[in-house]
């Protein structure tokens, strides 16, 4: 399965009337998870989150593709 770059957030059982709502739900969860953490704690949380989600994806080809795209524009 190729890396999905289209909007893909949803929550079973929830009905959305506005197309921005599922993405905004996710983003708020993400930001809330970092509330009251120090920068160092936030970095650790992010690392753990990447590991959990990478394991969920499983397909190393997809992860390789995601890593390449994530690195773009980051290192100069």
């Amino acid at each position: 399965m190729p890396l999905n770059l289209e909007p893909n957030f949803t929550e079973p059982g929830r009905r959305y009337f506005r197309d921005f709502s599922p993405g905004d739900d996710f983003y708020q969860l993400l930001i809330d998870a970092h509330r009251d953490l120090t920068d160092e704690q936030s970095a650790l949380l992010n690392a753990k989150l990447v590991l959990l989600l990478a394991n969920q994806v499983g397909d190393i080809g997809v992860i390789r593709d995601a890593l390449l795209r994530a690195r773009q524009e980051v290192a100069g």
Partner: protein, 550 residues
């Protein structure tokens, strides 16, 4: 400073109460002649209710203030009779563009569907809107008393007594109901000691209205971290009379008085527009904001609307727009209660439905604010990562949040709704505000929403106008009258009944209509109930439920 606008001065008249011993009594008094208060007054007047409006000032809003009026508010203005005036003076727009640094990363269109009467947004200075509403109040027979300031309020189970201060002294006046539309600082809310709870944001923004000739398209342009205002955000909007609204994020440490000085403002604008472009400063203000609401919007016989009841950040234009939707929800309910056709607990549903809407508005505007002004390094990193990815990938563009612009709430959980018993596709669920659709009436082009509102209606979809059982419609005798309206696939007429020809099939598509499908539509154009086959008993039950007459 204003060069394009002259403020009207409305005449104060000595109230008759000052010269008479007997105190007078009114069914409804609206406190505050802002857009929300006047919309409430006009709406009630259209329901036949006498209305008195009290305002402590004698002119319209100072400065352009509320600028963006969304499609739903425009549809309500149509019903109130000022839609055309607002739209012809205002600047219509649908497209918003978002930039990160030097590059455009995201573009949205507020009107994804074609064939709606009104555009996604109109930009119009608040003073113009207020002037139009004052004129409409006059024409509709709403009495506005300028320079009449409410200084005391006493509510009982049966009435409300107000103490009013004028240039000629004080008087007392009683009424059955008060609509409190006295703004974010709401003196009445303070007098009653009622709390408003929520979040204060620690950031400051500079608003500058400038007059200039520019051929920029009428779009909303939003910059994250632009080269001319590093590490902050900037917003550009076009208003009427070549007035442009520019909004600069300043940060919490900015000194509001210093930042308002032209010698501070002008260089910021020149950095943005270039040295060559001539412009004049029209109005400048520095603001902070809060996202908060009262716990309930009804307190006995006092009904709180607009900023008095709830406040949001300006990102999303959810302030005035939601205030006008408050009055759209409230006016028909109050009119039914005053006429003795519904118990006063119908007004609790005003609070329930609009508290739900306020929470949605607060949530969306808080999310926008958190994206625009990240509160931590981690939050800023995520924001910038989204903006970088948005240049390449569709999923990230959806996450870019420079303001989720005002759309009406779907009261999906409202107790006034009759739950579906039949299956329908699409978003026109009980509690939803109706989507518009082009129709023809007797061969003349028109719009669905212009044919509805102000009273209960039953929409019945049929192939041909003759397909419906005339006896069933004649038996539609309900305690609160319901007008049947046919929506037809084919053109045609039927004596004594309104027939709307679904000329482009948009109704069919948007409402998932089948021959025989029927919708009970509330006076505020929200759906109360729907069926695949209309049955008088079910309709009567749905009407009773929608008016708390069960």
């Amino acid at each position: 400073m204003l060069k394009t606008y002259r403020y009207p001065k409305y005449e104060y008249r000595r109230p008759s109460e000052l010269d008479s011993a007997a105190s007078s009594r009114r069914p409804v008094i609206v406190v505050g002649a802002g857009p929300v208060g006047m919309a409430a007054a006009i709406d009630l007047r259209l329901h036949g209710v006498p209305v008195l409006v009290l305002d402590d000032d004698d002119t319209v809003s100072i400065g352009s203030r509320g600028v963006c009026y969304a499609k739903r508010a425009l549809e309500i203005f149509d019903r109130l009779g000022i839609g055309d005036a607002v739209c012809s003076k205002g600047v219509s727009w649908d497209v918003g563009r978002t930039f990160f640094g030097e590059h455009e990363v995201y573009r949205f269109n507020l009107r994804p569907q074609p064939d709606h009467k009104r555009p996604g947004m109109i930009n119009l200075q608040q003073y113009y809107l207020e002037e139009m509403l004052v004129e409409r109040c006059k024409a509709a027979g709403v009495e506005i008393r300028w320079k009449n300031k409410v200084v005391g309020v006493q509510g009982t189970a049966r009435d409300v007594a107000l103490e009013v201060e004028t240039p000629d002294g004080r008087y007392a006046i009683d009424c059955d109901w008060v609509i409190v539309a006295d703004g974010a600082r709401s003196p009445i809310r303070h007098m009653l000691g009622l709390d408003v709870e929520g979040k204060i944001f620690t950031d400051r923004f500079l608003i500058a209205d400038v007059v200039m000739q520019a051929d920029f398209p009428a779009e909303r342009w939003f910059w994250f971290d632009p080269p001319f205002h590093r590490n902050q955000s900037v917003l550009l909007h076009k208003q009427a009379d070549n007035v442009w609204r520019i909004d600069f994020q300043l940060g919490w440490d900015a000194d509001p008085e210093e930042e308002k000085k032209p010698e501070r403002v002008v260089p910021r604008i020149k950095a943005m527009l270039g040295e060559e472009r001539p412009f004049e400063l029209e109005w400048v203000s520095v603001y902070t904001f809060q996202c908060r609401r009262m716990q309930r919007f009804r307190h006995g016989r006092l009904l709180f609307v607009g900023d008095a009841a709830h406040q949001v950040s300006p990102f999303g234009a959810r302030g005035a727009n939601s205030g006008v939707q408050d009055t759209d929800n409230l006016a028909w309910k109050l009119a039914l209660v005053l006429a003795g056709q519904a118990p006063d607990r119908l007004l609790d549903s005003y609070s329930d439905e609009r508290v739900f809407a306020a929470d949605e508005n607060i949530m969306n505007s808080t999310r926008s604010t958190d994206f625009i002004t990240p509160k931590s390094a981690a939050s800023r990193t995520f924001r910038n990562a989204v903006l970088q990815l948005a240049g390449h990938h569709a999923f990230a563009r959806k996450l870019v949040n420079s303001g989720r612009l005002s759309v009406p709430s779907v009261y999906a959980e409202s107790l006034l709704n009759t739950p579906d018993v039949d299956a329908f596709a699409g978003d026109m669920v009980p509690g939803a505000p109706l989507d518009d659709a082009p129709v023809e009436i007797d061969g003349q082009p028109g719009w669905l929403l212009d044919q509805l509102g102000g009273r209960f209606r039953l929409l019945v979809y049929v192939e041909r106008a003759g397909d419906v059982d005339a006896r069933a419609l004649a038996e539609l005798k309900t305690p609160i009258p319901i007008e049947p309206v046919l929506v037809t696939a084919a053109p045609g007429a039927r004596p004594g009944i309104r027939v709307l020809h679904d000329v482009r099939g948009r109704f069919l598509e948007r409402f998932d209509a089948l021959p025989g499908s029927a919708w009970l539509v509330r006076p505020d154009q929200h759906i109360a109930a729907r069926w695949r086959q209309f049955e008088p008993g079910a309709l009567r039950a749905a009407l009773a439920r929608a008016t708390c007459n069960e």
